[in-house]
Amino acid sequence: MIPFVAVVSLRNQESRTFRLWIPLFLIWLVLLPLVILLSPFIFLACLICRVNPFRGVGVMWQILTALTDTELELEHRSAGMSFHIF
């Protein structure tokens, strides 16, 4: 399943936490028509680079779906940051 939401959390020196929820599904909705419009150029670029375009699209889709559950957390005395993809 493709990721739907990303959460970025930032903490500053005063322990104030700023949390940002990024609705990825809206980004996908915006990007989808753009990708469809650009698909001939993507196809052409794949042919120039001698890459099977269908295989390329397949791998890109796999990467997109595999991003779900990725987690990154950095904690320091003065600041902290975390990034979760759901």
Partner: protein
């Protein structure tokens, strides 16, 4: 590596137990395991495949300049698989240039040999992977753990 063994090594790394105590615990743990070794091959004993690769870094700054730093990274195994498949799309001329650049840096890895089939094998064996690095300098203590879960 089993969870019990990992816990014992963790306790040893944290200084909670001595090396002798750790050795005794591990040998005591291996005793029943050896007697029940045939059960390991049973289908019920097959451990589930790891879903994530986790990297934990815990740095303590004793000098008090920067303070402690913690890093926690969880990468889905599917992302690693997809990454290798993406590497499979790299055109041959670019791959050979990347290989030669890595050889110059002293990294003898042939990227053209990394294939999804090989990765499946690697992922199977990653289940037992645990890398523990414990570094102590004059001012800093760094602990790094890489494992699959």
């Amino acid at each position: 590596m089993s969870e019990h063994r990992r816990q014992i090594l963790q306790m040893l790394a944290e200084g909670k137990i001595s090396a002798d105590e750790a050795e005794r615990l591990i040998s005591a743990m291996e005793q029943p395991a050896a007697s029940s070794a045939p059960d390991v091959s049973a289908p019920s004993a097959v451990r589930p495949r790891p879903k994530y690769l986790r990297v934990l870094v815990d740095s303590e700054d004793d000098g008090g300049h920067d303070g402690p730093t913690k890093v926690n990274v969880r990468v889905p195994m599917q992302l690693l698989r997809a990454g290798v498949r993406l590497a499979g799309l790299i055109p041959a001329p670019a791959l050979s240039r990347a290989n030669s650049a890595m050889q110059e840096q002293g990294i003898p890895i042939d990227l053209s040999q990394i294939k999804p089939e090989n990765l499946e094998e690697l992922v199977e064996h990653l289940n037992d992977l645990t890398v523990d690095v414990d570094q102590k300098d004059a001012n800093t203590k760094v602990k790094v753990r890489v494992f699959c879960e």
